[in-house]
């Protein structure tokens, strides 16, 4: 690897980086196009625009317009069938200038090499995830989220792997790899292994979830550290958000990760050249791939970069939780089928003891309608809410959601025709429903399924109309999806060693709800519809059982 061993080239890169320290982001499209062209790439641009369903207060975005610039390095003697992507988001302000500079430096160096077998696409995307979504939709000519983008002019065939680069400051002390993508999808574990192997080889500090690896596995504190790292991954994965620009690639079956330069371990400095060597190594490895990455695991949890927990280890834990539901359901089914024999003598008795599945239709329909209202109303009624109450659009949306959620608890949606048998049938249906729901969720996004199972299964197993009402109601509300989210927010902050006060936590909670909805509308994340349309109605059924008269 001869990258930047040549002093002239290193000087050129450093000049470029110093030049980039002047605030160029806010996307100097023309400059980027010219610079990339001068490096011998085929350069194309894509413009896009998107109006958010409601303003995003975190990033202060509402109507987003931008341009992506990408240059394709055509591999010699390659038929344009395969490509690799290196991307750097370019946000307004000078957050990621270093990454853009490094990307251009790498483009210049890569262009002069002969060994490329796959085209390499250097992408500078504006408005981070929104730009990335526009570019990926343009590249694959799909439109999942109703965004406006101009069609792409140049392509490089099917993308095999991608890395997104984020360097937040000039001084980088360690590199962090982010794997969690949209809907909790993860790239192939080999990508993480590749990163780890090159960090080891070059001697760069590498972290995952911002946590360094510890060598004392056997000690309690070492174990604790690993568990914390893994819990962070579980929480991040459960959120279903893309935690970096790479997250959107995973939908298209492109293995991708974000490499973040972090400035935290003061005494250990890494310069841009070293990161360049690391990326060069990774791209040469990816370039040599004959097949897509598929040999290693797609389902895993990482307690550290060098260790992983495979699906075979964590699935049984979830399975045991789900078995509780099935056993409960079996018990109820036995009870229900045993009952008619007791009241065999009377005609009225048999009629009463056969509530049938149709009798639970009313609570099912009502709770699902509530769920549908929770899904639809907040965004639809934001204008009305803003007119009548002194709140901003975002607050209106979040508060409407909370209001609908709370109102759902008050709905009278039980039927009284079969006082004794009715709740059993309803509970049987609700238990099976929950089991199927959690099972499916856990297969797609284990962390989300596991967290939901952890909170919903005790409530589901325990609740009957005959338990003490007030205490059980409190218990049930505390285990409802909304409260789970609230606890998760605090827990996540705790894990990140950034504990917050209740006041701040509440504000954070509100913004997390808004973010969750935006993720759904902007990138097609499924967590919000899953919770609103399925999990919440299912929980309402148990709430209904508790107040069965």
């Amino acid at each position: 690897m001869g990258l930047l061993s040549d002093p002239n080239r290193r000087q050129a890169l450093i000049n470029l980086l110093t030049r980039l320290n002047a605030p160029i982001c806010g996307m100097p499209v023309d400059w980027l196009v010219k610079t990339m062209q001068a490096r011998g790439l085929e350069v194309f641009t894509q413009s896009f625009s998107r109006t958010l369903p409601f303003p995003d207060e975190n990033t202060e975005r509402y109507v987003v317009k931008g341009t992506n610039v990408y240059g394709i390095l055509r591999a010699p003697r390659a038929p344009r069938t395969e490509a690799l992507v290196l991307s750097a988001p370019c946000t307004p302000g000078d957050n990621n200038n270093q990454a853009v500079g490094l990307l251009l430096g790498l483009a210049h160096y890569f262009r002069n090499q002969v060994y490329w077998a796959k085209d390499i696409i250097f992408l500078v995307n504006e408005h981070d995830l929104i730009g990335m979504q526009a570019w990926l939709e343009g590249y694959h000519h799909t439109n999942v989220t109703g965004m406006d983008w101009s069609p792409l002019q140049g392509r490089g065939g099917s993308i095999q792997a991608a890395l997104s680069l984020e360097l937040s400051s000039d001084v980088v002390t360690s590199l962090d790899i982010v794997l969690e993508g949209l809907n909790g999808q993860l790239p192939n574990l080999d990508l993480a292994n590749l990163f780890y192997a090159f960090c080891q080889k070059i001697g760069v500090l590498c972290t995952i979830q911002g946590k360094l690896q510890r060598s004392d596995w056997d000690s309690a504190s070492g174990y604790n550290h690993a568990v914390q790292t893994m819990m962070l991954m579980v929480m991040k994965q459960a959120s279903g958000r893309p935690w970096g620009d790479h997250g959107l690639f995973l939908r298209y079956h492109i293995e991708a990760a974000t490499v973040k330069g972090v400035n935290s371990f003061r005494h250990y400095k890494t310069d841009a050249t070293t990161i360049g060597r690391l990326l060069e190594g990774m791209y040469r490895k990816l370039n040599n791939l004959l097949e897509r990455l598929h040999q290693s695991y797609f389902f895993y949890l990482l307690p550290s970069l060098s260790h992983f927990v495979s699906i075979g280890y964590y699935m049984p834990a979830f399975g045991l939780l789900a078995v509780i539901l099935l056993l409960r359901a079996l018990d109820l089914w036995v009870q229900l089928s045993a009952q008619p024999s007791r009241t065999e003598d009377g005609v009225a008795g048999t009629e009463q003891s056969n509530p049938g599945v149709l009798s639970v239709l009313t609570p099912l329909v009502i709770s699902h309608l509530t769920g549908a209202a929770l899904y639809m109303l907040p965004v639809r009624f934001q204008e009305v809410a803003v007119e009548h109450f002194p709140v901003s659009e975002t607050e209106a949306v979040v508060l409407t959601a909370i209001a609908v959620y709370t109102a759902g608890l008050a709905l009278p949606h039980n039927t009284h025709r079969y006082p004794d048998m009715g709740w059993r049938v309803l509970k049987l249906v609700a238990l099976l429903y929950l089991a199927v729901l959690l099972g499916c969720t856990a297969v797609i996004n284990f962390s989300l399924g596991f967290i939901l199972a952890l909170t919903l299964v005790p409530a589901a197993a325990y609740v009957t109309p005959h338990v003490p009402k007030a205490l059980s109601a409190f218990f049930l509300v505390a285990l409802s999806p909304a409260c789970t989210l609230l606890f998760s927010v605090f827990f996540f902050q705790e894990l990140q060693e950034m504990p917050v006060s209740f006041q701040d936590g509440w504000l954070l909670y509100l913004s997390v709800i808004a973010q969750g909805m935006l993720d759904h509308y902007l990138y097609g994340s499924l967590v919000f519809p899953l919770v609103a349309l399925l999990v919440y109605p299912c929980w309402l059924l148990f709430w209904n059982i508790l107040f069965w008269k």
């Binding site: 011998g40 085929e42 003697r77 000519h141 040999q295």
Partner: protein, 579 residues
């Protein structure tokens, strides 16, 4: 339609033979003739395009089982192939890389990435498929290529796109076979047998430049062999056979690792020229200097007084000519090392009149959509194109979703030839004649479903994906020569009244990029194998055991005689119990 075909053919013949201006054979005693030439075109992007052509013409008759046993310049291996398989025309190309039309313009001889083979058989061939199969296997041996992978699943019979380029008016596409192998990797082992077909081998003449270590250090490499019957003279009373070997290569400015922007024969090929091939009747080097009349773009040394003009691909080009048969060309050092020094910087991308691209859209492993985009960049003229799409059977095309849209409106093809695929037997074939409106993009989309293959049908590297060959776009593109409406230019008045000229359009063929499509692939890892194995064992064990347990054994009655059966039928009709 018929007119278009005729014009296409006529034009093809015209354009392909340029710039070898000696179309008429010299009437010498020996009825064999060999010519070699090298065209070097400094490209717009700073790269350099070198195109070799070697042409052998032989006045002989391979047709109708005529035994030819004495070979001189014409390679015997190919001659035997022609006579044994009754081949009328054979075109084979091996290409590594994709021709970048947007940066490099049109190539002299286009070819798709991978291997392409198309053959017209003589109408005396009775079983075309069997002959084709045998021919591909023989060619596979001759060219050291995997042409033996050509079978019925990737062979096509295009009805309109590939017309014979030589003489003969048989155009029944029953005698045509066309196949591409987009996966084929071209390397030295294909170059060596190709070089052996040349009369001088790589010992003398232009062929000494063909050193594989340099040729495969380039952006694009393509070598081809074309055999066809051609006219002997203008009257075309008798025919002779033409073997044209072409090699196209593009050298990359950036990866050559030089700080000075400078090209020379030695830098490109690590050889200089010292002589022409002694067997060649003509041996020339042409340098395209059209964009460089006053040497403002590049400087050429040594200079030559010889200039030649030719209309190539609809554009009038000027070439500096170096005649290697003249000793004067080699100068005092007795070796020719052409040098081109760039002066200007790289230009922008070109806007070729016709170019195309193709890609797969969508995500997931169930369905997808193939988009083919065709650009007509002519400002005011529309022109017809013939699109040939061949898709392997494992992508099941939903032909009802076929849409052709230009400028936001449906563009109805005036001719469609569609042959649906048969699983494991033949691919989809779609041919369409479309009119591309001026200054427009025409988008052809069709959806497909990915088939689940049988587990033995997967390649050894199933996660690499499966290739879909290039689409072929054959077209009559309006000439740039005819486009010149600039009447202030100095030209005779009598030539400038009618804007249209004789060669108002030229034939061009454009290949799109091949596609790499992922199919639903089982996890061929250890657990998968274990599951397969256990399932097989359990199925066999369980099946036989179950069979034994549930089968009821009976003693079979001996077959009753014919008389008895008839008697029984009669008894049944009478209502009496049978015997």
């Amino acid at each position: 339609m018929a007119e278009l075909k005729l014009r296409a053919r006529a034009c093809t013949r015209l354009c392909v033979s340029v710039p070898s201006d000696t179309a008429v054979l010299s009437k010498t005693q020996v009825n064999e003739d060999f010519q070699e030439e090298l065209v070097i075109r400094p490209l717009h992007s700073g790269d350099i395009y070198a195109s070799f052509q070697f042409r052998t013409v032989w006045e002989t008759d391979f047709m109708k089982g005529n035994k030819v046993s004495h070979y001189r310049l014409f390679p015997k291996s190919l001659g035997q192939v022609i006579s044994k398989f009754s081949v009328r025309e054979l075109h084979i190309s091996f290409t590594q890389g994709y021709w970048r039309t947007m940066q490099w313009g049109q190539p002299f001889i286009p070819s798709p990435p991978g291997a392409e083979l198309w053959v017209w058989f003589q109408d005396s061939v009775t079983d075309v498929d069997a002959t084709w199969k045998e021919l591909t296997n023989v060619l596979s041996g001759i060219f050291c290529a995997s042409l033996n992978f050509i079978d019925s699943t990737n062979t096509l019979q295009p009805s309109a796109s590939f017309k014979p380029l030589g003489i003969g008016n048989e155009t029944d596409h029953r005698f045509l076979r066309y196949a591409t192998l987009p996966r084929e990797i071209v390397c030295t082992e294909n170059l060596t047998p190709w070089k052996k077909l040349l009369p001088c081998g790589s010992k003398a003449g232009l062929a000494v430049l063909l050193k594989s270590e340099k040729l495969f250090h380039s952006s694009f490499h393509s070598q081809s062999v074309h055999i066809r019957p051609v006219c002997q003279d203008r009257q075309c009373k008798s025919s002779s056979w033409e073997l044209r070997q072409a090699l196209n290569v593009v050298f990359d400015l950036h990866t050559s690792g030089q700080s000075k922007r400078e090209w020379s024969l030695f830098k490109m090929f690590s050889r200089t020229l010292t002589e022409a091939c002694p067997l060649a009747s003509s041996s020339k080097i042409y340098i395209d200097v059209t964009d460089n009349p006053q040497e403002e773009q590049f400087e050429l040394s040594p200079a030559t007084p010889l200039l030649s003009q030719a209309v190539v691909l609809g554009d009038r080009r000027t070439f500096s000519v170096y005649d290697l048969t003249q000793q004067v060309t080699f100068g005092t050092v007795r070796s020719l090392n052409l040098m081109i020094r760039w002066k200007s910087s790289e230009g922008d991308m070109l806007r070729p009149l016709l170019h195309a691209e193709r890609y797969v859209t969508g995500y997931g492993l169930q369905t997808g959509e193939i988009h083919t985009l065709m650009y007509n960049n002519h400002p005011f003229r529309s022109f017809p194109v013939l699109l040939l799409d061949s898709v392997p059977w494992y992508l099941r095309l939903y032909i009802h979703t076929l849409k052709v849209i230009s400028k936001g409106k449906d563009n109805n093809p005036s001719y469609i030839h569609y042959q649906p695929s048969k699983d494991r037997e033949r691919p989809h074939l779609l041919e369409m004649l479309l009119q591309l409106p001026p200054h427009s993009v025409t988008e052809v989309t069709v959806q497909f479903e990915r088939a689940l293959l049988k587990w033995t049908e997967y390649t050894p590297d199933p996660n690499h994906g499966f290739y879909v060959g290039s689409s072929v776009i054959s077209s009559l593109v309006p000439s740039t020569v005819a486009m010149e409406t600039n009447i202030t230019m100095e030209q005779p008045l009598f030539s400038s009244f009618f804007p249209c000229k004789e060669e108002s359009s030229y034939f061009a063929r454009v290949y799109t990029e091949p596609l790499l499509v992922n199919l639903p692939t089982p996890d061929f890892s250890m657990p998968y194998n274990v599951i397969c194995l256990t399932c097989t064992v359990v199925a066999v064990g369980y099946g036989s055991l179950y069979n034994l347990l549930t089968r009821s054994f009976q003693v079979e009655e001996p077959n009753p005689g014919l008389a008895k059966r008839i008697a029984n039928v009669i008894r049944r009709m009478r209502g009496v119990p049978p015997l």
